[in-house]
Structure formats: structure tokens, C-alpha cells
């Protein structure tokens, strides 16, 4: 996975609350049995006036001049709630989004982000609104420093600090593969299973 240490990119504000994963990628856009090639379906219902011909909706933030190349999404409350589909995250990364700043996240979506190298940042609604007030008017660049846990952008002299779970930060900064990490505990896992087999044998069905 691509490590996330420092990233500079354009911010696209999309401040609706409760944007669910069906909106991030509608089911009908999940056409392949694959994790790639989903960027086109990102926000399809809002992004296109005609989804078949992919006619862009000029009102939608990612279609406005200068915002097409946005890599940082600024969102409201409960972003990524709803269906657990990881396709939502694959669509975002397929489009080129590297970080999402929101007041809160759907929890499955949050984990999916970290597992795919997208940085989910939680800020309070007031701070988000302040950024949006400026970032909506014209495309602005922001720098995210994950190690320092802060955001920097031209309109604010002071870096904006953010909190993140240390294990999430570690995973992202080092671009770690969680399966590989957990495999280091393989013996412990097998021992645990053996112990369970004695304690609660019904948990281990005979394979049919």
C-alpha cells in the first residue's frame, strides 16, 4: 500500500451530512468483480446529469473548474454511513482521493479507508465550516502532515491539529499490510484455537 506521510492537494467541499456509501458509489456502478476501475462511478448520481453518457453535472463540486483534480474531500457528519461496500473506498482512491476530512465517519467505512491507504481525518463541524467557507469559492491547496497530525493551508497561518488513532496512523504512515502484521502472531493464534477446541468444541464444526 502507498504510505501516507505528507500530502498536498486541492480540497473539494461536499458538506452534506449522512452521505452514505450508496451515494459514494451506487450499486449499479459496481460492475466488475475487481477492486480497480471504480473511479468513474464515484458519486455517479450527483456527478452526472446522464449517467449513461457520463454527461457531467456542472453544479457538482468535482465538475467545477479547478476542482476536478481534488485529492482531499471535505465532508460533514457521518460520512460513509450505510452499506459496508468497500467499493466506496476503491471508487474514492480510483478517483485519486487521498484524504477525507469529516465531522464523523461511518465506522466500517473508516476502517476500509485505513485498509486502503486513505486518511480519514475527524475535525469538529466548526473547523470544517471555516475551511469550507473559503475552499468552496475557489480551489485551494492544503497540506496534510500525518506524522505531525496537522493540516496547513494558505488561509490559516496556524496549523490545524487533528487526532488519529495511533494504530491507524502507523498503518498509514508505513503503508503496512495488516494481514502480514497479524501473521507474525500466527503461533499465538493457533495456540488460542487449540485451547478453544478443548474449552468449546462446538465452535469447530466438522467440515462437510
Amino acid at each position: 500500500m502507498t504510505p501516507f506521510v505528507r500530502h498536498e492537494g486541492i480540497v473539494a467541499p461536499l458538506l452534506r451530512d449522512n452521505v452514505d456509501t450508496d451515494q459514494i458509489i451506487p450499486s449499479r456502478e459496481m460492475k466488475t468483480v475487481s477492486k480497480t476501475g471504480l473511479g468513474e462511478g464515484l458519486f455517479a448520481s450527483w456527478r452526472y446529469t446522464d449517467e449513461k453518457t457520463r454527461t457531467p453535472n456542472p453544479e457538482f463540486i468535482l465538475n467545477r473548474p479547478g476542482f476536478e483534480k481534488a485529492t482531499i474531500l471535505l465532508a460533514g457528519r457521518n460520512f460513509g454511513c450505510g452499506s459496508s461496500r468497500e467499493h466506496a473506498v476503491w471508487a474514492l482512491s480510483g478517483y485519486g482521493i487521498r484524504a477525507i476530512i469529516a465531522a464523523s465517519f461511518g465506522s466500517i467505512f473508516h476502517t476500509n479507508c485505513v485498509r486502503n491507504g486513505i486518511l480519514p481525518i475527524t475535525l469538529d463541524m466548526e473547523a470544517i465550516q471555516d475551511i469550507a467557507d473559503i475552499a468552496t469559492k475557489k480551489p485551494v491547496k492544503m497540506t496534510i502532515d500525518l506524522q505531525q497530525q496537522c493540516l496547513l493551508w494558505e488561509a490559516s497561518g496556524e496549523p490545524i491539529k487533528f487526532q488519529i488513532d495511533p494504530s491507524d496512523r502507523e498503518m498509514l504512515v508505513k503503508g503496512l499490510d495488516p494481514i502480514g502484521l497479524t501473521m507474525q502472531h500466527r503461533q499465538q493464534i493457533l495456540d488460542f484455537m487449540d485451547q478453544q477446541k478443548t474449552l468449546r468444541p462446538w465452535l469447530f464444526p466438522e467440515t462437510d
Binding site: R16, D20, P26, M30, S104, N116, S167, M183, Q188, F192
Partner: protein, 469 residues
């Protein structure tokens, strides 16, 4: 310790340097929508499944639900690949596959309990957000993404930060015609869609104790709709008798041993919770959603709230909801004409749900111009319903009687009720375009949906149930 603490502790393999807990996973359940991707990705990386005998896969999300469907028929163009690829991968991986026309096939959260695959005290994960349903049996079950499913299959564990404890206590007796669906909509309307974030919820109280397992499944199903990690209910005699004799339930001496273990799974009387809520069952009325978030729900005979009466942070989404749903603040919901009715989904497509709907429908016809569809949650439910003659009640009333699957619970790109259709639905999500392009979904219980089908409008179904009983 709480029930949740106990479930967590007995699966704790070790604490990781990262501060996360490594939690042992007893069952992984897949479906064709994401199962094929996860299995293919493991194969590509040469990662074997630790214990394929503990991994199950059903076909539910995009299978056709039309009578006489073929084994590869999908309900959207291109969907066949998901079915055939998942089947191929599942066979190759040697996991337990419940294929399209298997007599056990059905929606994952309907199938897991009715086959006894999920049991009290287990951890079960599935790449589907409504896996929390299974907490109804005292299991620790939650929805995950595909990467996490791969992790669980390859390592037999997941890396997790432990959620906090919340208890929702409901005491008293639900009125006639008021169901677990109404209760959960009532709860979400009160506490809000974000209230469960970061919490594992335990449902407790005399109302829960009196509920059968199917009602408990409905209640737990929607925990994710208020952002909870999951919900759990302590296993009791009701759980035990529900599981006894199910195909995957333990038997003989193992059954006795398992039951003794399950009965120890309850919160200590001095257990502490980070948050507690109390509800009184008598306060719950039949509920209907009016908006595009499950918290936008009111009693069926109520009126849509004035925007100003809402907390400031709810006003914008209420405005959007009114616009999308074609309703206005102050407007009564009852009497609003609908064009479709959907009875199905992992929330409300078990036998008791179909019985409740059929009780309302018996001797009535669906109003002219209404398209009404009933999709049993599984083959097992369908067979049981047909044995009771319920299929005939639905068909005589003018309903379509389908093959099991998720069907119109979500729009997959194929069949829908029509652009902008207003639908009375027993599902769990009223999100924009969830059921079809610009579909306006009103969530409610099966009996209420049946009543709406007969009148052709949203209606407080209790009047009709009184008449027909």
C-alpha cells in the same frame, strides 16, 4: 463485566503493540456481491484460508428473485459474473457454499440463524453492514469491508479497537400491532442516527425478554442504522429453544455443554455502561419514516415536523428530505398515495413477518395501480410459508410471490418500482435512490406495509388489523 465485555474477552488472542486487540473470529459469512472479490484477492496473494470449514457463503444480493430463475440469473445486467465468479472461487477455496438453488439459500442474516450457523458466544463477521442482526442470538457479529474479510479468513482474527458499552433497556408490553420494527424506528427517531457510534449496544429489559428470536433479529438488524458497532441480546431460554435441532446446532452431549456455556453469557448485575437509554414499550406507536434517514420517522398517524421544531443540526437534512420525498412540514403521512409495496429483506422477511402481513391481507385486494411484491428471506421461510398457505394469501391479494434474495431492498441496476416511485417498504434504509432511481422509500413493519397495499396510501395499519381479526 457486561455481556459485550465477556464476549470480547473470550475472543481476545492478545493485545497488539499498536494498542489494538487481536480478536479471534469463529465464522466468516460471504455473499456473491463481495465474496468473489475477497476470495480472488486472497488467491492472488497466495494466502490460504486458515480454516475453510468455518467460512460460509450464500447467494442473495444480486440473484434474480423471479420465479423459475436459473442458477446464474442476476437481477441486473452483468451481475451473472458475480454469481459465477463467487461460485468458482468458493469451490476452489473449499468453503461451505449455499448456492442459488440450494434448498437452504436465502439472505445471509436470515440463513445464519435459521440453520444454526450463528450461535451464542460466537464471533461472526460478514462483509455486510446488517450482520449486527445476529447479535439477537447472543453472538458478537458485525459488518466489515472486503479487506477485513480477507484478513479474517487468512488469519482467523481481526485487529480491533474495543468499542464502548451502551445499554438500551426497554420495559413493558408493546401494544397490539406494534412490532420490533416500530420499536427500533422509535428508538432511532429519539436517539438519532449517530448515537451508537463507537458503542456495542446491549438490548435489555422485560420487552426484550418477551420477544421471540425473529423479533430480536429485526431489532438488532437496525443497530447499524444508528451507527452502532453492533447490538447484542443475552441468550436465554428463548434463544436455546430456537436453536435446538437446527442443522448446524450442536447435538447430544455437546448441546448440553454448549447450553450451559451460553447461559453464563449475561451482564453482571454490577456491570457499568458508558451510556444508558431507557424506553417504555407502551410509548411506542406504529412508525413510518417520512425522510431519507431512518431517524426521520414518526408515528403513522403523525405529521411531519416543522423545520424550526428540529435541533439546528437536523434542519438542513430535513429540508433536503422534504424536497426529495415530495412532502412538506406539517403534512400528515396517512393518506399519502403510494405506488409500490415491498415486503422482504433481512429486517422483515422471516416467517413471523410474512404471517403478520398475510393476516392483514387475507380477504383483501391490493389497491388498483399498486405494484406489490413479497420476497421471502430464504427458501426455508418460503417453504414454511407455502406449507401454511401464506403464498396463496399474498397471490390472491395481488402480490407477486418471489424466490428468496435481497431483491428490491437495494437497487442493483436492474428492476425497480419506477423512477421516483413512492414505496411502502419493510426494509431498513430509506436513503436516496436506495431502492431505485429517485425512489421515495417509507420504512415500516410488514403489517403496515400490507395495510398500505390495500388502501394504496400510507395508513395507520392498526385500523385494518382490528377489522380483519
Amino acid at each position: 463485566m457486561t455481556l459485550f465485555d465477556k464476549l470480547w474477552d473470550r475472543h481476545l488472542v492478545c493485545r497488539l503493540d499498536s494498542g489494538e486487540d487481536l480478536i479471534a473470529i469463529d465464522r466468516v459469512f460471504l455473499h456473491e456481491r463481495t465474496g468473489g472479490v475477497a476470495l480472488a484477492s486472497l488467491a492472488e496473494r497466495n494466502l490460504p484460508i486458515l480454516d475453510p470449514g468455518r467460512v460460509y457463503c450464500t447467494m442473495d444480493h444480486i440473484v434474480s428473485t423471479l420465479p423459475g430463475r436459473g442458477a446464474d440469473d442476476a437481477r441486473m445486467p452483468g451481475g451473472e459474473t458475480f454469481i459465477t465468479e463467487t461460485r468458482r472461487q468458493a469451490r476452489r477455496a473449499g468453503i461451505n457454499l449455499i448456492d442459488v438453488n440450494d434448498p437452504r439459500q436465502g439472505i445471509v442474516h436470515v440463513v445464519a440463524p435459521e440453520l444454526g450457523i450463528v450461535q451464542p458466544g460466537m464471533t461472526l463477521v460478514c462483509p455486510d453492514s446488517h450482520t449486527c442482526s445476529l447479535g439477537a442470538l447472543g453472538a458478537l457479529a458485525w459488518g466489515i469491508g472486503s479487506s477485513e474479510a480477507e484478513h479474517a479468513m487468512a488469519t482467523g482474527t481481526l485487529r480491533l479497537t474495543k468499542p464502548k458499552n451502551m445499554r438500551i433497556t426497554i420495559d413493558g408490553t408493546l401494544a397490539r400491532g406494534v412490532t420490533a420494527k416500530d420499536l427500533v424506528l422509535h428508538i432511532i427517531a429519539r436517539i438519532g442516527v449517530g448515537a451508537g457510534k463507537g458503542y456495542a449496544v446491549e438490548y435489555a429489559g422485560s420487552t426484550i425478554a418477551a420477544m421471540d428470536v425473529e423479533a430480536r433479529l429485526t431489532l438488532c438488524n437496525m443497530a447499524v442504522e444508528y451507527a452502532a458497532f453492533t447490538a447484542v441480546i443475552a441468550p436465554d431460554g428463548v434463544t436455546q429453544s430456537y436453536l435446538e435441532g437446527r442443522p448446524h446446532a450442536p447435538t447430544g452431549a455437546l448441546w448440553e455443554q454448549a447450553c450451559a456455556d451460553w447461559m453464563s453469557l449475561r451482564s453482571d448485575s454490577d456491570a457499568g455502561y458508558d451510556v444508558e437509554y431507557h424506553f417504555q414499550a407502551e410509548d411506542v406507536l406504529p412508525m413510518v419514516t417520512w425522510g431519507i434517514s431512518p431517524e426521520q420517522a414518526i408515528p403513522a398517524d403523525g405529521t411531519i415536523p416543522a423545520i424550526d421544531s428540529l435541533p439546528p443540526d437536523k434542519r438542513e437534512s430535513a429540508r433536503r428530505a422534504c424536497e426529495y420525498m415530495g412532502v412538506r412540514p406539517g403534512m400528515p403521512l396517512a393518506g399519502l398515495p403510494i405506488s409500490g409495496v415491498f415486503i422482504g429483506s433481512c429486517t422483515n422477511a422471516r416467517l413471523s413477518d410474512l404471517r403478520a402481513a398475510a393476516a392483514v391481507l387475507r380477504g383483501h385486494r391490493v389497491a388498483p395501480g399498486i405494484r406489490a411484491i413479497c420476497v421471502p428471506g430464504s427458501q426455508t421461510v418460503k417453504r414454511a410459508a407455502e406449507k401454511d398457505g401464506l403464498d396463496q394469501v399474498f397471490i390472491d391479494a395481488g402480490f407477486e410471490w418471489r424466490e428468496p434474495g435481497c431483491a428490491m431492498c437495494f437497487y442493483a441496476g436492474g428492476e425497480h418500482m419506477g423512477e421516483g416511485a413512492r414505496v411502502a417498504s419493510t426494509t431498513n434504509r430509506n436513503f436516496e435512490s436506495r431502492q431505485g432511481p429517485r425512489t421515495r422509500t417509507h420504512l415500516m413493519s410488514p403489517a403496515m406495509a400490507a395495510a398500505a397495499a390495500i388502501t394504496g396510501t400510507l395508513v395507520d395499519g392498526r385500523a385494518l388489523t382490528e377489522v380483519s381479526s
